[in-house]
């Protein structure tokens, strides 16, 4: 088990190094930040001065080594626009994104898993059909538009909830609902399909024949087994949620790293872009390791 995680750890390091290399190629070799940083009327002398200052005149491998050395020390360079360390800048905003994405995921799980179990156990009933249509709409409605509609109804129309910024719990309601709704639809479908598979298996019949209550059969024996394939997909989805929080953060002016990313993309603020990818990469790696660990808890037969 520990050997497995050590191996995984090294795989993650290799993947991150690769990621850094690709990022470096993309932004330092393909793009040229000087044309964005300076006004169009800037003279050649100014451009040269800036290139010298940013170190863009050095050979590519020197730039790469400098970049790598910095990144390994947690320094991905200074933001071109904010007079601040880029990694620092991203990490400051990561908390807001994690809060938003985490709430959205928890909300989606809390709604979709019980509903998935109930609809699977009462297949074809009115609740099943209702959820079926609901989940279809949930995965079909564009996230950003849903956010705008929620603002229209709950902020502008009724004035119940704030429409932008980060503050108390009230600020979290609309963004988390917006981000989570797609996943309610998706997880509902997945849980239901997984439960339908498990309910046909012998273990459920055995549990029933032992005289266990329906509740225990469904949630303890059924759900536990249905969750294993579900978990794999959820792990991938968490990455998607963090990526798609870019959209939700834009709609609700949520001060997370997604919004920072979008602004930095518009200005090609390379150090910030690289830091974002680095932070996201580490997050993905941690999530995947956590999921691997969760497997061993859900299914004791799984050993690494």
């Amino acid at each position: 088990m520990i050997a497995y995680f050590i191996r995984r750890f090294f795989q993650v390091i290799v993947a991150l190094l690769l990621l850094l290399f690709v990022m470096f190629l993309m932004v330092y070799v393909i793009g040229d930040p000087t044309r964005l940083l300076l006004p169009p009327e800037a003279t050649k002398v100014h451009v040269e001065e800036l290139r010298e200052y940013l170190g863009l005149n050095d050979p590519v491998y020197i730039q790469y080594l400098r970049f790598l050395n910095g990144a390994l020390h947690g320094d991905t360079g200074q933001s071109f626009y904010h007079a601040e360390n880029a990694l620092q800048l991203v990490l400051e905003r990561a908390g807001a994104t994690v809060q938003l994405a985490g709430t959205a995921i928890l909300l989606a799980l809390a709604i979709s898993i019980p509903l998935g179990v109930i609809t699977a156990s009462r297949r074809g009933g009115w609740l099943d059909r209702g959820c079926l249509i609901g989940s279809l709409i949930g995965i079909s409605v564009p996230t950003f538009w849903l956010g705008i509609m929620l603002i229209l109804i709950f902020s502008i129309g009724t004035g119940w909830l704030p429409s932008s910024g980060r503050g108390g719990l009230a600020h979290l309601v609309l963004p988390a609902t917006t981000l989570g709704l797609y996943y309610v639809g998706l997880f509902l479908r997945l849980t239901r399909a997984g439960m339908l598979d498990v309910l046909e298996q012998d273990l459920v019949r055995t549990a029933r024949s032992k005289g266990l209550s329906e509740w225990v059969v469904l949630y303890k024996h059924g759900l536990r087994n249905a969750l294993i394939p579900f978990l794999t997909i959820t792990a991938v989805q968490i990455g998607e949620v963090i990526a798609f929080s870019i959209v939700t953060e834009t709609v609700f002016a949520w001060p997370g790293m997604g919004r920072l990313l979008l602004k930095s993309l518009e200005k090609l603020d390379y150090p910030v872009l690289i830091s974002y990818v680095l932070v996201i990469g580490v997050m993905f790696a941690i999530i995947n390791m956590l999921v691997d660990w969760l497997y061993t808890i859900l299914d004791p037969r799984i050993r690494y």
């Binding site: 074809g124 538009w145 705008i148 509609m149 229209l152 502008i156 479908r189 989805q237």
Partner: protein, 289 residues
Amino acid sequence: MDNSHIATHGMMRRFLSQRKLVALSLLGLMLILFAAIFAPLIAPFDPMRQCLPARLQVPTMESDTGPAHVLGTDLMGRDILSYIFYGLRVSLVVGFGAVLVSAFLGMFLGMIAGYFGGILDTIIMRLADVQMAVPVIVVALFVMAIFGKGLGKLVLVIGVTGWAVYARAMRACVLSVREKDYIEAQRALGTSEIRIILRHILPNVLTPILVLSAVQLPRIIMLEATMSFLGMGVPILTPSLGIAIANGQKVLYSGAWWVSVFPGITLAAITVNINIVADWLRDVLDPRA
């Protein structure tokens, strides 16, 4: 995101046995297609013509001069209905274009991986794993930011980054038919590899690819709208539903709800209808279901 098709198989069957919903969706899609193709003929206004005196007009059936602004106008006085007709074109062009690019690229690579196996297989499938681990929207945002906005670029970026699911499906299909007797027989007859692939393997794998394309299409259309909404998709003067919704958000507080509501409903109508038809196609065509 790409896994929902596994889980939903058969889920719609009971519901769809009535076939009414599918028929309705197909009708809806035909209307959408019609509106997109004949946009220049049926649009009451030039979608990009700005008319500042007519800005932010409430949806109305009445008009003193010429056609009415049935769905109102936006901040620039552009007719929302006409804009939507033209926006549909962008949605469908990017949707079908990107799906075609992904499908061809994925089928080609999946075919190579499955048919020839070995080191090629390992490399291609590892690449597919990596591609599927990275959210498409992040890659697309980076590429569009660096290379600039554009309709063609958007199709290419979304298309190229979407190859992995097709490659996986293609490889699995090829592996399952590769060792069949009739393929062996062709080999014994001395048929060339290319001919075996094109004449005898390809027809057997087209159905799953078709189903996969139908499942992917609404996601791609939504991705285009999302990218354009974020200002990283098509150029600002190309009519896109995503841009329309972004414009709508800007005037939300002045009470002009119609600017964002109608393009959004249109977008949701496209994706809901395609999702329903895709679910149905999967149930009917997919042999696993």
